[in-house]
Symmetry: C3
Subunit: 423 residues, 3 copies
């Protein structure tokens, strides 16, 4: 995952344009991605798909003709969605178009102007302070014209048509945690799940933030009722602890699942209540949809100082953290895949487990007695009202123990699957 | 309010009689009060309106003919509802009719004998101990005869017939916090609300405790279904922190409202669960009515040592405390008036607020970003299930922010009022 | 109770056999117990009633012919349900049939082999370590043959057919806390309740653990719907604090009752959530029955080191602890017997209690004012929705105060009993 992130890092992405196309082409080497192009001017709910932005070069030259700010070195230097310019500008005017971070003098901020036409540059505050009162050559070779909004989608059919939606945003230029980490983790999830036998169908979206999810929702309304679980993937590579932001519903199966996985991870973690602020869960959770979409991150957006600055670079994201986040996502998927309700076929008194050799089945395990206890929990609560996750929560045992006990019991005909209706 | 309290302080009130009439006449200079007279002997539920009590003078003279206890100095000296007497009495007999407070030797207690005919005096314990073994001239010029129970009522019609009931008790003689503070605060609420455009109708009751609320309930049963919120006003002038006693229901809108106002007041406060003991909420909350009546006080009744003694005087009540209580009541009314449910007219994805200039609308405000956040909260939760107060609670923002965001959104046609049915 | 326990202590009980018969005969001197005999081989749900086990003698003799382990001294020495044997055995082979407790070198463990045919002895670890490498005479004069499973049952008819089930297990040999304490406490409960006028019918079961409750359930399925409350009695004589293990339902009336009694006991206590592990509540709470059966113990099973060892003897059980447990059971029964719902006959405003002398009724009591407060609580919440226990819980007063206030009010016609439907 880390190598893929390195490959994607230099590309200048935005909510539209060739940077996104190039990014999706690279991902398409890993998974069979469908790429969609939606024309500028398309109406999607209350919004309109904007003009497409592309940029080739940009710099500021001083009086000596030296490039003091250069897009080729760091694409964050240009205000994302900047209009073109090519003229001499006095420092006073120039300053109205410069953005810096006084609290981190060496970092270059990331800024955009998607919905207001403007030109600008971002630079380190230390450099901004040192600018002489002179005339500067300002050059931005960009275009903002009718074109397309580009997004990628990969659908993986499972046994059921019910879907697990995994959505990540593609619109950020050279920023690693937000959100190259999300792009690569999602790609690898898709890659691995492709090889597995799955109960749910999985849909992976690689979309620009806000306008991308709005556009996808607008074009796919008829599919939404199939979405039973969902996660927005962002900021999954920094060294901070995991955080889960709950769905708008607050008690969806995905909420219980992620909380269970984190609680039994042996690591510290945080749970955040839903708020209508953040990433694309804002759109998925709007009242007209109210999809069960949570967001599983490490340090949440805006809470790390490197957020939306040049310091969110390849050093900030750790391969270990990425791998740990990936394993949490896989653990969540594992629970959701197996979380069914069963019926005890022998509901009056306990069945005689000893006779069937079920008590000695876990002899080789470290926690053999907990596995045996799990048998009793599953039998007692398999009355059609409790899912395996409910039983795991009530027993205090990890889902894996409950799931393994269930397999053994079902193997002896002591359980049958109950019809699980999705609410 | 404090001046009005000073004017009312000297009057000898009781559950019936001319003291109450005089009090209501003074209040009627501020608000158009209707005064009702209910004859003694009238049956009201399990009770009977008692005889009317009036008193002109009372004293105890010592052997030298000196008035050592004098009603003219302090009306608490007479046992409230005392029968008349005019004879010489030995100390032993006299002592059976004297009440004092050993734990506060200089304070005169307030006592009554509404439902048992008896005569008596209240005096400082220090004076009681100093009484010589001699004969005393005991004189009480009172009358206890068929007459009337007197109460005041003021009804203010709002847009809706649904009512907010505000009830305060009039039956205490020279006691300030309990409950001249309640009388004057209620009067000023009524005075100010009269000038405002109101959604709810407001009914203000000035009644004697217990028998007064029972009498009013007995005469107005057909009106009770209109009462959607209510507060019993008492002990609102002492320097203690605010306390709210919840309704019998425990989760009425008035409960949520007062708790919200106190939580965001920046001051310490207390919340008390309902108990069937206290002031007239006992009657309003009896199981046959179960009205949503809470009680918003400063230090609750019986919890301050000055309670029902001569020390509950004009010094004990602070103008600042009265003003602070008044502002809390007004804040509660403000929330109740504006607490409606709305429907997002654009429920699928967020509407584009930037295009409408809604993000820059709060530029002048100190908490501009919180006002912007409030826009998102109101939009996301205006699905007909959440009132503005629910949204304020869920967001953690003060109601005023949510209310202002609502106005802005409704002004842009992004919200319409949902039909709010009262439970 | 302690004397009865001394009488029962020497008997060698098991899940079947003459030891159980002898035990039940002794109990039958105290209560009119019905004794049932169920033939070996009888199918009960997933189980089969096992062969009957009886034992007359057993020992291990060393080379000198000395009995070094002797069943006549302590019946725990024989593996319960051991098959017969009578031959010389080398130490190596013998050791495969010996059980000891390395962590308590002087204690003899209790072990059984109900469902696998095997012979064995239990002994102190200190003795095991001292055994010389020699040949031993091993003798067990037991029989394992078709016979009967024996259990006792006593049914006490109350005003209602609805039942309170009290179940205790009879299958342990010389172990006092687990569960002679349960046997004697249950016997004395039955003895005392027989003399009382009761609302509920009470059923007392003296059964072997697991197979006993399964057998009883199998033979009495049609009676189960009558069971409204139940307790499994075990480990009620040790000096530890009381523990209550909740029913599978978690919010049954018996749960609320026991928690109320323990909370107001003035003693420390513990509440345990239901788990499908423990004593016969495992069977009563299987999903096909889900009976409201809790378990009220002192130190729960397995949590005291003496558990299932020779140290669980007559010294370990304290007469004081037994008596205290007994009083808690009686307090629980007292609440359940009186926990009804009432209707205030005068639900609009308070009735005038003073006129009826109800306020002065508790003059002699230490907590007269709390009894008066209880009157108000009962009147206010007797609207058909709250049981007396609910009112006690909500008021924070002990049930006894609420119950006494109820009697007084009902005596004045201010309350009538509501029809209490059992859920």
């Amino acid at each position: 995952m880390y190598q893929l992130m390195e490959e994607l890092y230099p590309i200048c992405r935005s909510i539209t344009g060739d940077g996104v196309r190039e990014t999706l082409q690279i991902l398409a080497k890993h998974i069979p991605l469908n790429v969609y192009e939606v024309p500028s001017g398309t109406h999607v709910f209350d919004w309109v798909v904007p003009k497409e932005w592309n940029i080739r070069d940009a710099y500021i030259k001083n009086a000596k003709g030296e490039k003091i700010v250069d897009f080729q070195n760091l694409n964050l230097h240009v205000l994302n969605y900047s209009t073109p310019i090519n003229r001499k500008v006095k420092l006073t005017e120039l300053k109205e178009h410069l953005f810096s971070l006084p609290e981190h003098e060496d970092w270059v901020p990331h800024r955009n102007s998607y919905y207001r036409e403007e030109w600008g540059f971002c630079l380190a505050h230390r450099q901004l302070k040192s600018l002489m009162d002179a005339e500067y050559d300002v050059f931005i070779d960009s275009s903002l014209e009718d074109g397309y909004l580009t997004y990628g989608e990969y659908f993986l059919q499972g046994e059921e048509d019910n879907e697990f939606l995994i959505s990540t945003h593609t619109c950020h230029p050279s920023l690693c945690n937000d959100n190259l980490s999300g792009l690569v983790l999602t790609t690898y999830l898709a890659k691995v799940l492709t090889k597995m036998q799955l109960r749910y169908s999985y849909r992976f979206l690689f979309i620009p933030s806000t306008i991308g999810s709005i556009t996808w929702l607008g074009r796919n309304e008829e599919k939404l009722s199939k979405i039973k679980h969902g996660l927005v993937v962002a900021c999954v590579g920094d060294p901070g602890k995991m955080h889960y932001k709950k769905t708008r519903r607050g008690d969806a199966e995905i909420d219980k699942t992620v909380e269970h996985v984190l609680k039994h991870s042996g690591q510290d973690y945080g749970i955040l209540e839903f708020s209508p602020y953040g990433y694309d869960e804002r759109q998925y959770s709007s009242p007209g949809f109210n999809l069960p979409m949570g967001s599983l991150s490490r340090t949440p957006h805006g809470r790390f100082p490197e957020y939306h600055t040049s310091a969110d670079n390849l050093d900030f994201v750790k391969a270990d953290s990425l791998a740990d986040s990936y394993s949490k996502y896989m653990a969540v998927i594992d629970v959701v895949e197996h979380n069914k309700k069963y019926l005890n076929t022998n509901p009056k008194c306990e069945p005689q487990l000893g006779r069937r050799g079920l008590y000695s089945m876990f002899g080789g395990k470290r926690d053999a007695n907990l596995y045996e206890l799990a048998l009793l929990w599953v039998l007692n609560f398999s009355d059609g009202n409790f899912s395996l996750l409910d039983i795991a929560e009530r027993s205090g045992l990890p889902f894996s123990y409950i799931n393994e006990a269930t397999s053994k019991l079902a193997g002896h005909g002591l359980l049958t699957e109950a019809n699980l209706k999705h609410a």
